[in-house]
Subunit: 227 residues, 2 copies
């Protein structure tokens, strides 16, 4: 499948690498291709500059946000939730119509130090913002509740005995994402929370997740919904 | 032990009944004793007016907020998080000094319909508000992440194989609350999240919890932290 991944950070790299490894035709999108390749410093949480990662993953193409969105039949939003709306506006509504976008973003604001706060929460969420701005896009919020490595390989923790969530307004889009989660990545427990407004709950979980990371000393953690 | 429980709703009743059953000397506090006993309608989530419940639990005394706080060596805040600060102000700072208060509250605002929003979140929490207002009080946030029945009887779900949290600034107070959770109520997994600022994470989890209740059709659910 042709897949567009928006964002070249840790999450974008991890998703792209796994999707390419599974045989999909992946293009990763960024704001300014030349500027990204010219960068010599690794980004937050990364061990090497993007150019080095890109050379090690020659099958994954690099393009602008608009090119990656045009390329993909299915899209992943791996940009920061603080800029996701601007990124999709840059990509263009026409390229988005009718496509499924897995919204992995979190609106974390680190500018006031640790712990970060959310730039949108309580009465709204990034998932809802994107769905409102692009009614033709099928936004499915998912994967934002775990660290990148677990997103694509949940078996790294407790033999996958933990929970992933999906939410969104389009049942077929949620079914498609659920199949990717289970058949491609290995998730065993996927809970459908409801419509896109439930993205609030998923994004507002992040402060607890960050504190669990701090307390446990590792981001290799997740919650299992017991019922 | 002498225990003061603030709040006569579902949570206050459930906590008081269990604590009295365990042999503790419990006083439950309310704003206006006469008005509460005169009420003939059951409260939200309750099946009978408070007076009927009170007659069925003769060992549990009823008093004002100030009387319940003065009575208790350990306190439970089972009022709505939207009024908790006002309730403690009514109880009086002098009565609170040096005591441990288990803050079970959530600042849920149902006035704009379902799902409710939080009246304080993201940059603050009820737990922090109470601790700031009463520096001599030892606030430990806990139990706010599950339905009342599970608070005092976690074995009702998955043989207690799920997680409870504590957070607060006073290590001895957290140790005391953790012992109550494990030895009195039967919790098997209690995670110490850190200082009282981590109450934000626990209160901001509520929107996800409410959606899980909606999706699963029952509040008899909880999360287990897999690590």
């Amino acid at each position: 499948m042709r897949i567009g991944v928006l964002g070249t950070g840790m999450v974008g790299q991890t998703l792209s690498a796994k999707l390419a490894e599974l045989g999909h035709d992946v293009m990763v999108g960024t704001r300014d291709v030349a500027a990204l390749l010219a960068r010599t410093e690794p980004g937050m949480g990364q061990t090497e500059p993007f150019s080095a990662w890109s050379r090690a993953h020659p099958a994954i193409r690099l393009g602008t946000f608009a090119e990656a969105v045009a390329h993909g039949e299915t899209l992943f939003n791996a940009t920061s939730g603080t800029v996701s709306l601007a990124v999709l506006e840059q990509a263009g509504a026409a390229n988005l119509d009718g496509k499924v976008l897995v919204d992995v973003s979190n609106p974390l604001d680190f500018s006031r130090g640790m712990p970060p706060t959310l730039t949108v929460s309580n009465t709204d969420s990034v998932g809802e913002q994107l769905q409102r701005a692009f009614p033709g896009l099928k936004v499915v919020k998912s994967l934002n509740t775990v660290t990148a490595a677990l997103m694509v390989n949940p078996r790294l923790l407790a033999d996958s005995d933990h929970t992933m969530f999906v939410c969104g307004n389009d049942a077929a889009a949620k079914a498609h994402v659920t199949t990717m989660l289970t058949d491609w990545f290995g998730w065993r427990d996927v809970v459908d929370l409801g419509d896109i407004s439930t993205a609030r709950g998923l994004e507002m979980y992040l402060p607890l997740w960050l504190r669990l990371w701090g307390t446990l000393g590792t981001p290799m953690l997740n919650i299992k919904v017991m019922r």
